[in-house]
Symmetry: none
Subunit: 219 residues, 4 copies
Amino acid sequence: MARPAHATLNPRKQPRQARSQATVEVIVEACIQVLLQEGANRLTTTRVAERAGVSVGSLYQYYPNKQALLYAVLAQHLNKVGDAVEVAAQSASGRSLPDMVVAVVDAFVGAKLAHVDESRALYGVASDLEAADIVNAIGARCCKAVAAMLSTAPRVRFVDARLSAYIWFTAMVGSTRAMLEGGAPPKMLKALRDQLVTLGLSYLQSEAISTRQKRTAST
Amino acid sequence: MARPAHATLNPRKQPRQARSQATVEVIVEACIQVLLQEGANRLTTTRVAERAGVSVGSLYQYYPNKQALLYAVLAQHLNKVGDAVEVAAQSASGRSLPDMVVAVVDAFVGAKLAHVDESRALYGVASDLEAADIVNAIGARCCKAVAAMLSTAPRVRFVDARLSAYIWFTAMVGSTRAMLEGGAPPKMLKALRDQLVTLGLSYLQSEAISTRQKRTAST
Amino acid sequence: MARPAHATLNPRKQPRQARSQATVEVIVEACIQVLLQEGANRLTTTRVAERAGVSVGSLYQYYPNKQALLYAVLAQHLNKVGDAVEVAAQSASGRSLPDMVVAVVDAFVGAKLAHVDESRALYGVASDLEAADIVNAIGARCCKAVAAMLSTAPRVRFVDARLSAYIWFTAMVGSTRAMLEGGAPPKMLKALRDQLVTLGLSYLQSEAISTRQKRTAST
Amino acid sequence: MARPAHATLNPRKQPRQARSQATVEVIVEACIQVLLQEGANRLTTTRVAERAGVSVGSLYQYYPNKQALLYAVLAQHLNKVGDAVEVAAQSASGRSLPDMVVAVVDAFVGAKLAHVDESRALYGVASDLEAADIVNAIGARCCKAVAAMLSTAPRVRFVDARLSAYIWFTAMVGSTRAMLEGGAPPKMLKALRDQLVTLGLSYLQSEAISTRQKRTAST
DNA sequence: CATGAATGAGGTTTCATTCAT
DNA sequence: TATGAATGAAACCTCATTCAT
């Protein structure tokens, strides 16, 4: 799922031996470090290898080129976030709208904050390459899961659950990104969560059409 | 306002003569074209100069280095958006909350859509350089203007107008960005505007505290 | 004529200024020098540039890649030889078979010996790249010219002039190559010319069918 | 016979065991395959090992370095050809000139065509390395054998049998090479043999001086 | 003996920038 | 002032070779 469109972005080989596994991990980690400390412009394969304490050659044994490395790191991060959102959306299916919103916001913000460094480091990468592909793919995956969840909300119906999910999700992404890129302090990040709940809940309630029978009112 | 932090990013000279002015414009335009058609990775000063129909030497007469060029292009674009939002916010001061929301959304979406190419092209650039600076600066400018506007809303009060403005604005930016980067079709872009109104209005109404005298209640 | 099949092998730009022209020449010369003194394996663009006294960058302004450089050098050499053979073949048209043979052998051997260094240096290059293309193209050009010439020989007719031309020409190439690659001394190279005349003449006379009326026999 | 000039080119060990023998053969075969399918430029020890189904390490157990491998493959091929020619030349000693020519041509062309792939693949290799050494060595061996054969021709004498042998042999090599490198179709390759007989015979008859007593003429 | 992960020197190529014309 | 040839640091990537397992 969410496999690179271009063959050349595929990892070169699956590490079999334990040694290899370690090498790959150390490379990915180094990549994030370099991204964070030096910026995307100064991210060179040599520098990543150096930071990782391996030779360039080793790096190229696992990634056919620089883009593939970045792609892999980005995909790994996005998948973590995507998985979190997907799981949350599934778990919250059938619950009340407020519960849904809280679940998804917590999952999303939680995943992002659990890997703040990764998040911050990768914003700059996403635009470069064909990365747009995965970004969109993961985005679509999340929206789909959220839309599905929304469709199970009790007593309400969405005219266009997919669109509502899209707007909500991308809005959430936008605010979070702004905070992380802006170097917001932890205090703000806490507030973010509450605001995103309000943002999501109020928006979705506006979009929702009540399907409840208003018997009491008529009586 | 929104002055470059780094001295080296300043344009080399202020074009006074008409010819110079034209050259600068043609270069900026070429830069956007290249960005759009070749991507940030393949954006080279030589290519920009070629596309602009001038020599590299000429390009370097107006911009001390590549970053300065990108910085200028980005700043120009962001300022257009920032100005539009600022003007809208000022104009809508004192009007009703729905009016405010409509005004700001229209200004923002309008400015973005009026320069879709620029927008799309520049998302990739923003992360690279010290561009974060302007992005944040313009963001702050917009939020400030919006917060000021919100404070003039009749019959309501915001506990933290600045925060509300921030969340709303960044959410709006997020959804718009997602659509533009995702290559959404014009139809979707139309729908975007309405959704952003709903999103903004419902959120702000949730955040607003009514200051209206509730006579009936006290009685 | 004999243009590179692959776009990437085309020279990058035609030198306009006098300075450029000089640079290109010096690069080509250096390429041959390096080939000769270091061998094809140690031919690197850096080394060629160094030897030429220019920067690598300059080299790449005129040749998009290493192959294109080699291709150009090879093509230039082969064209010299091809032209010589073609001219000789045309000039000798209608003359007697022995005259034809002498003309072509002299042209070929002459062209090769006039650029012994080039010849020696380039044998190693030809096999590498798509160079096979030009080698074959020039070979075909020569054979065509020779075949045309043979068809004009008085009093004889060739069953398959094209084939005879091919065998003769390639045989000539073979012996010459062997001598040059074997590092034969000048004395031998002199003898080569005479032997090639004998080789060509005897072969072609064997292949030729007399068309002369044998009156005495019929009487 | 035809021992490598450079110590480092010697195969690392003489494979005694059957398994080793098999490994060596599979490597040599793989080398030719790679050469043929990927070209000399893309011939890497790793690729050869892969194709051979062994590890690089194993390859290096039998060949101290890449050149040694290529050298061995080339030497093996050339020796096959050289042996064939040598045997033919010895067998044809004392026979008539036409018989000699037919014998040698058949041996040479036969040997080449029996291993067309090898032949084609190795042309590109020969120029690279110190391979010139073996190429020349085998060439000399063939010429020596042919010259010796020529000296036994009945009723004729060669002023310079060595030179005649050289010219003839190299011419034969040249035409054959041209055909193989040019990718000539099988049909042409058939014709080649006949042409080479004509070429050789006519040339050698031109070079030969008759030593027969012309009694009938005096009578 | 075999394996294949690791190495890193060295090759190719790009591109921001300068400066003679 | 405008030009574009020249520069060369630095990036990407390969591959012959070694050596721990």
